[in-house]
């Protein structure tokens, strides 16, 4: 049983015009087995929240705390956060030229498990993860995210989620750019990871579409760098009908 606690998190980013505050005091608690949807308009700071928790160097934490089972996440390096059990499925996964998917996955699994996985069981493990997401076996020999379509990148992220078995996963607009079939396949992968590892999920999205496949326990509306309303799944239905206008002060 794990708990990710975000308390009064304040984050700024350096721009040409000086530091700009993006997160203005975010409070969230995510426990194993729970699915939280964060919904909000573009520019509200949803992705900043995701990258700040993962430790991207571009963001400066100016206040508040993030803890995982009491351990101070903000004190950890990026790889230490992953080792502690955090995972970020990125909206724009990065290309790494010359590094094969197979090499990348094995290096990551070795780092997270503390020892190299046994070759034979590892090959089976990867093959099953790829099959489950309808990923062609030739993928393993391709370079990480290089020349991948939008859908392939997202499937590759969720394959990592299933293989690396984090405690808490942040999915940053995993649904963007997916057609209906790909959305279903990717969502099924997330649900498998939830069932298999009692995963806690922080699902960041703009649209309610993905919530038909991944059922949230809690919905948080995000606007202007903080959570402005919270509720159950019914809140998503309200957003579907009425949009974000009420929250952005227009």
């Amino acid at each position: 049983m794990s708990t990710l606690e975000i308390r009064n998190l304040q984050v700024s980013v350096d721009t040409e015009n000086g530091a700009v505050e993006i997160l203005k005091g975010v409070d969230l608690t995510i426990k194993s087995g729970e699915t939280h949807a964060i919904m909000g308009p573009n520019g509200s700071g949803k992705s900043t929240l995701a990258y700040s928790i993962a430790g991207h160097p571009k963001y400066t934490i100016t206040g508040g705390s993030v803890t995982l089972d009491g351990a101070d996440v903000l004190e950890m390096s990026v790889d230490e956060r992953a080792k502690a059990g955090l995972f970020l499925a990125m909206q724009y996964p990065v290309e790494v030229p010359g590094v094969s998917v197979s090499n990348f996955l094995r290096t990551a699994a070795t780092a997270l498990r503390g020892e190299a996985p046994k070759l034979r069981t590892w090959v089976t493990e990867v093959k099953e993860a790829m099959d489950a997401l309808s990923i062609d076996p030739s993928f393993a020999q391709r370079n990480v995210n290089e020349g991948f379509s939008g859908g392939e990148k997202k499937r590759h992220e969720i394959m990592q989620l299933e293989l690396l078995k984090p405690k808490i996963a942040i999915l940053d607009e995993t649904d963007s750019g997916l057609d209906v079939d790909a959305l279903r396949i990717v969502s099924e992968g997330v649900n498998r990871a939830k069932d298999a590892n009692n995963l806690g999920v922080l699902l960041i999205t703009h649209y309610t579409r993905i919530l038909r496949y991944i059922k949230p326990d809690f919905v948080h509306v995000f606007a202007n760098g903080k959570v402005v309303e919270e509720g159950g799944p019914e809140l998503a239905d309200k957003l579907e009908a009425e949009g974000y206008a009420e929250y952005v002060g227009s």
């Binding site: 430790g55 992953a82 030229p97 990348f104 997270l112 690396l164």
Partner: protein, 363 residues
């Protein structure tokens, strides 16, 4: 001999061809003051196979096939008493690479070495030249690639830290022939290589690939020249370099000349450098001179950059440590070229050497 010597001009460092080279570190190769070694460090390592011969021929019997205005190459021609000749007979199809080994541990005198690699028409072969040791070497390799032949030449500069190696690798590529070179420079104090190509028949194709990794104090120069002097020839140049540490210095010059009669030329050259620390310097100068507009394509690109933070973040977000993430990115950077070497043992050895250079540099 003294008459010849007087005709060799000593470079002073202001000449275009020498302006980057630290002449004071050449140990007398450039002005002829180095004592001339009597040893011959080049040997054939692989077992003899039908159609392949390796022998030494008196230089009087084998005049150079190309002209040169390079002072050190002219010294090589004057001071080497014989020529090492590797000959591959026409129509030979060699499944295994021919291995040449150059190993020397003599820093007190300079070896001047002339080599000819001659592949007969329609033959196919790979030659791998492995260079190790601590030595002073001035070397000229000429390649005669006859019509329809296909030659891959892999040259591995895995020198120890004090070696000074100055060389010209000149390929003469005839009609419908292919020449591919993979030049790897990761060891030595000063290495200056001139990979050059001269086409002598239409349909000829040259691919010049290279990687280099210079750490603290190392100077590696690769000065490429492709002479498109016939119609319908194709050339591709792709060199990738990494640098780390104080006064690590690399120079890449890519000269491509498309002469007036070279219609249908297709050429592209690329140099990418990865600066791993402060204090290192990468010079990169692509030059394209075009005398005819009737060509298929001509282009060049040169980039010099640092580690991509986004790549490192992505890898680290999967639990990979900063050191391993950098190692993966550097290996990945070089992989495009190293993976072209067919011998997987050589690939593994080079990648391990690259890893150790990275650790040594503390990047």
């Amino acid at each position: 001999m003294s008459v010849l010597t007087s005709n060799i001009l000593v470079p002073h460092g202001r000449e275009e061809a020498w302006r980057f080279t630290p002449l004071n570190r050449l140990k007398g190769l450039h002005d002829g003051s180095a004592a001339i070694a009597t040893h011959r460090s080049l040997s054939l390592k692989s077992a003899s196979v039908p159609g392949v011969t390796f022998e030494r021929v008196s230089r009087e019997l084998l005049p150079s096939l190309s002209t040169t205005d390079d002072a050190i190459m002219n010294r090589v021609r004057e001071f080497s008493s014989d020529v090492a000749v590797l000959k591959i007979a026409s129509n030979s199809e060699l499944s295994e690479p021919i291995l040449l080994n150059r190993e020397s541990f003599d820093l007190t005198s300079a070896e001047y070495s002339r080599v000819l690699i001659h592949i007969g028409s329609n033959a196919r072969a790979t030659v791998v030249a492995s260079n190790t040791g601590n030595t002073l070497l001035a070397e000229e390799i000429e390649f005669k690639v006859e019509s329809g032949a296909s030659l891959t030449f892999v040259t591995l500069q895995e020198w120890d830290s004090q070696t000074v190696h100055v060389a010209k690798h000149h390929a003469i590529v005839d009609k419908d022939a292919n020449f591919k070179s993979i030049t790897v420079t990761i060891g030595g104090s000063v290495v200056r290589l001139l990979p050059t190509v001269e086409f002598t028949g239409p349909g000829a194709d040259a691919q010049l690939l290279g990687v280099y990794f210079a750490t603290t104090g190392q100077f590696f120069e690769h000065r490429i020249f492709v002479d498109h002097c016939v119609p319908q020839a194709k050339s591709r140049v792709n060199y990738k370099g990494a640098l780390s540490g104080e006064k690590a210095h690399t120079v890449w010059i890519g000269d491509v000349f498309i002469r007036a009669n070279a219609e249908g030329t297709d050429t592209y050259e690329l140099n990418r450098n990865l600066l791993l620390t402060d204090g290192a310097r990468a010079d990169s100068v692509p030059n394209l001179e075009i005398e005819t507009g009737e060509i298929v394509g001509a282009g060049h690109a040169s980039t010099t950059g640092r580690f991509d933070d986004e790549q490192l973040f992505y890898l680290m977000s999967r639990g990979i440590s900063i050191e391993d993430a950098r190692r993966l990115v550097v290996r990945g950077f070089f992989n495009e070229i190293i993976s072209e070497i067919s011998d997987s043992e050589v690939q593994v050895r080079l990648m391990e050497r690259i890893d150790s250079e990275l650790v040594k540099a503390g990047a």
